[in-house]
């Protein structure tokens, strides 16, 4: 109970607005929920990779079966959606980065932009190395 007393005589009968469906009421909150939700897909993708590692430990046949399963249409759709979500998640991650850093004398957009540029550069490098190394 607050030690502050309302001066309104009728304050005892206040009305509290319900929270149900709060995140649908503002586009800002919808984007927040997509940001948080995209982490679930990230986790799912990480689990798929872990399964691959586990199958690899069981030998070449098991690993090939796992790779074959990845080629199914369902898996391709999952990976396409996953890619979009991971890209969005990375963007939001750098977007909020200035808020988690100590006070900086530089424009927060530079922190966000720098982070995104670094992520793009590393992704391109890895992709190039993979294509290079592919038979």
């Amino acid at each position: 109970m607050s030690r502050y007393r309302s001066t309104a005589k009728t304050a005892a009968r206040t009305y509290m607005q319900p929270m149900a469906g709060w995140w649908t009421k503002n586009p800002y909150f919808v984007r927040y929920m997509v940001r948080e939700g995209s982490a679930l897909l990230l986790t799912a993708y990480a689990l798929v990779l872990l399964v691959g590692l586990w199958r690899l430990s069981q030998g070449a046949a098991a690993f090939d079966a796992w790779r074959a399963a990845l080629a199914s249409p369902l898996s391709v759709v999952f990976h396409a959606v996953g890619l979009v979500m991971v890209v969005y998640h990375s963007y939001t991650w750098f977007d909020v980065m200035p808020k988690t850093a100590p006070d900086q004398p530089i424009d927060p957009k530079l922190i966000t932009g720098g982070g995104i540029a670094a992520a793009v550069a590393v992704s391109v490098l890895i992709l190039a190395a993979l294509l290079w190394g592919a038979p």
Partner: protein, 254 residues
């Protein structure tokens, strides 16, 4: 651009709630003539003066500094004296009291919960030793001032609390403005109060109650950036947990 003084008419829908007769709120609609220089607050005042004297809302300074006139306009928390009717025309406005607070009547909310939280962060300088008057003023460099200046601009308007779903879902959360003010004093070179504020900041309901939705900083009319104040202190709170702050001699007063 010259001000357009021709009068147009805009529809304003207001949430109405009379605790003596209503069990839940409803909306009343008003046709309000307005000119280009009229704020949303002036629209409400027109309703109260000309159309319905029972409409209840808070205001004082009419110049975005007292923090009394916060309302939800079309679901966005704003200072109604700092928002203009012309920006909504030809659409209508739907005005509600600030989200996440109990409604006392119409557009008036009960702010007591915030006052408790504000008090809990000890929003004043906490020093180890009282400095004698004879020792002269406590000087600060511009850099030292910069470290807390933005956070000291808060006018306690509570728009950030209305923008915070975590506060709406769990009102134990200390919330944006109070935590920003907590940081404002911790960041002040004259203050040594980290330890006496540590319990509030380190709690689940302290900085860790924030999931960085970030909308508080969007709606703040004074560019306080409470989301930044809170989230940079997750690092400080973690360092405090591992005893690093003490090592860095930032612990302050026991």
């Amino acid at each position: 651009m010259p001000i357009d003084t021709t009068t147009r008419t805009i529809e304003i829908e207001c949430l109405r709630y009379d605790p003596q007769t209503d069990t839940e709120p409803h909306f009343s609609s008003y046709q309000v003539p307005f000119s280009d220089d009229m704020s949303v607050l002036e629209g409400l005042q027109y309703i109260k003066d000309q159309l319905d004297g029972s409409l209840t809302f808070r205001w004082s300074c009419r110049m975005a500094i007292c923090g009394s006139c916060g309302q939800e306009v079309n679901g966005v928390p704003v200072l109604s004296c700092h928002t203009f009717l012309r920006d909504y025309f030809p659409h209508k406005l739907r005005i509600e009291p600030l989200n996440n607070f109990p409604i006392i009547r119409d557009l008036v909310i009960d702010q007591n919960d915030f006052l408790d939280k504000l008090e809990s962060v000890k929003p004043y300088l906490v020093t180890k030793l009282e400095k004698p008057l004879a020792a002269g003023p406590h000087l600060q460099t511009p850099q030292q001032l910069n470290r807390y200046y933005a956070y000291s601009q808060c006018i306690n308007c509570l728009l950030c609390y209305a923008a915070c779903p975590q506060y709406g879902l769990n009102s134990d959360f200390t919330g944006p403005a109070a935590l920003a003010l907590l940081h404002r004093y911790n960041a002040d070179s004259r203050d040594q109060g980290w330890q006496v504020r540590a319990e509030v900041i380190n709690a689940d309901a302290g900085v860790w109650g924030c999931t960085l939705v970030g909308y508080c900083s969007e709606v703040c009319p004074k560019a306080v950036d409470p989301a930044h104040a809170i989230n940079q202190n997750k690092v400080n709170s973690a360092m405090d947990f591992f005893g690093v702050l003490k090592l860095m001699n930032k612990g302050g007063t026991e």
